[in-house]
């Protein structure tokens, strides 16, 4: 009788072990089973070396020739903390495609770019607000291109534009850029 109880307890423990998926070693000295449910020890895997991509694709927005829409152009940029800043500098450099037009003055520089509370705060050099650069059509595209390029990054929901460290009122005299702006899907034209 004593032996029966011991067998029963062991059997019970073993069943619980199978159901909960523990390895036999954890519940005493029961022999390994051959029904395939026992956990086989995992082979040690060499830790994968972190693969650093040379470049990553980033969408940068440029204007269409009719000055009504923005179209995304994919540029290969170096990953890292400067990625967003590079995206904006690419925006100032202008498009590869002759089907698109630049929307920022070429000499525009990014002085700093930080993301705080899902808001990108981007500080431009005064070249951005160069007098006589654009009319309202260009200004709409410029503001939307900055905001839409930065909100391509999942950590950015809104964009605060600064010029020379201060909140800018408008860039070329029309668009209100004093408060943070969010993505404008309506101005994007899908090719």
């Amino acid at each position: 009788m004593k032996r029966q109880v011991i067998y029963a307890i062991l059997g019970c423990l073993f069943t619980v072990g199978l159901l909960t998926g523990c390895s036999p070693e954890q519940i005493g000295k029961l022999p390994p089973t051959n029904n395939g449910t026992a956990v086989t020890p995992q082979k040690p895997v060499a830790p994968a070396k972190p693969v650093i991509a040379e470049t990553v694709p980033v969408k940068v927005y440029f204007g269409t020739h009719n000055a009504r829409y923005l179209v995304a152009e994919v540029h290969q940029l170096k990953p890292g903390p400067q990625l967003m800043q590079q995206a904006i500098e690419t925006l100032a450099k202008g498009p590869r495609s002759s089907d698109l037009v630049a929307v920022l003055p070429k000499a525009t520089k990014v002085k700093s770019l930080v993301v705080r509370d899902r808001m990108a705060i981007v500080d431009f050099s005064t070249e951005l607000v160069k007098r006589g650069f654009g009319g309202s059509a260009t200004e709409i595209l410029a503001v939307a291109a900055i905001v839409n390029t930065l909100t391509e990054f999942p950590e950015v929901e809104r964009v605060q534009i600064l010029v020379d460290g201060k909140k800018a009122d408008t860039l070329f005299g029309h668009v209100d850029v004093y408060d943070p702006l969010s993505r404008s899907p309506g101005i994007i034209k899908n090719k």
Partner: protein, 359 residues
């Protein structure tokens, strides 16, 4: 002896199976938790249209049913099954003119209703509910997102027909050290804007309107140290302080593409009248001026947004287009266009009088 052994073995086997199921049960029936919430504000970079966003963060994907009801009050109701809100801390709405408050109540077992109390009617198009997947790279959990548009405030402004007795603010864009856009023949936009405004003013005054200009001539409205915003704010202040009936800003467009041409009118839909004013002016300008019709567009432009009365910003033509630059400099063309603008303003008062506050 042997049979008894087998029996106890079976009993224990059964018992352990039951235990196993009992152990597994909570896992299979686990509820998803709403772990957090946050409010956000968005302003479309192009149109300036404002939205309040509510994000509910969940521990796993959730299916959401939603509807909007007028009774007892306007509210959006989201229904989720298998969801637990015990850990949710509700924070107040950042803008009670869009969402008054939010609450979450449990009805049946594990069914939760999230209710957003609205201050007024909301049309189907003015809100949307969607879910987003977790994004480990950006450290974001699964989310339920509710976007609600900030509606136009109800206005009690009414208009009468005719130009006589009206107070109209004309805003010749740029000026002083700000030339605006510059054409290929070195036409400064500020000068064209001024020439047009002077002509419009003369015609309106003959028709019995009082006209205020936002700048007295080719000058800066603020000291050189002040920002453009101060300059633009001074322009809208003139109109707001004097309670003008309408605000019309006169500009000329420019683009890096010198082929572009045509007339366009911008507005900010802050009252039901703004789009009507823009459309009346656009129709009249295209008819009278004969330039290509690019249509009316909403834009987050400072002056039309911050002038309290119905406002429009005219982009009469492109000075970056060599041919159009020449046309725009022609005094006969300017006179034709000025007459068209006044006809558009007259047409606006006629239409606005029928709207009775847009109700």
């Amino acid at each position: 002896m042997h049979r008894r052994y087998c029996l106890s073995w079976l009993i224990f086997l059964l018992l352990s199976l039951v235990t196993g199921i009992a152990l597994a049960a909570p896992a299979a029936n686990a509820t998803v938790s709403i772990t957090g919430m946050r409010w956000g504000r968005a302003a479309d970079a192009v149109t300036g249209s404002q939205t309040i966003r509510l994000v509910l963060e969940t521990s796993a994907p959730v299916t959401v049913d939603q509807f909007i009801t007028a009774k007892p009050n306007w509210r959006i109701v989201l229904t989720m099954r298998g969801v637990n809100v015990d850990k949710l801390k509700i924070t107040p709405s950042p803008d009670p003119s869009v969402v008054k408050s939010m609450s979450a109540v449990k009805s049946a077992k594990d069914t939760v209703h999230v209710m957003l109390e609205l201050p007024a009617e909301l049309k189907e198009k003015q809100y949307k509910v969607f879910t987003l997947k977790a994004d480990p790279k950006a450290k974001r959990p699964f989310r339920i997102v509710i976007d609600i548009a900030k509606a136009m405030p109800v206005t009690n402004v009414e208009f009468s027909t005719g130009l006589r007795g009206k107070l109209i603010v004309l805003d010749p864009g740029h000026g002083g050290t700000d030339p605006g856009a510059i054409g290929p023949r070195r036409t400064h936009e500020k000068n064209l804007n001024w020439s047009m405004a002077v002509k419009v003013k003369a015609i309106l005054e003959r028709a019995g309107s009082t006209v205020l200009m936002t700048r007295p001539g080719d000058v800066d409205l603020t000291p050189a140290s002040a920002s453009d915003r101060d300059d633009l704010r001074v322009r809208t202040m003139v109109a707001n302080n004097r309670k003008a009936n309408i605000f019309v800003s006169i500009h000329h467009n420019a683009s890096v593409n010198s082929d572009l041409n045509g007339t366009t009118t911008y507005y900010y839909p802050k009252t039901p009248y703004d789009s009507v004013l823009a459309q009346c002016l656009q129709t009249a300008m295209v008819r009278g001026g004969g330039l290509d019709n690019i249509g009316i567009r909403t834009a987050n432009f400072f002056v039309v947004k911050n002038a309290w009365m119905p406002a429009a910003l005219l982009e009469i033509g492109y000075i970056s287009n060599p041919q159009e630059e020449q046309t725009l400099n022609n005094p006969a063309f300017q006179q034709k266009m000025a007459l068209a603008i006044v006809a558009g303003i007259d047409q606006f008062f006629a239409q606005a009088a029928k709207m009775r506050g847009g109700r």
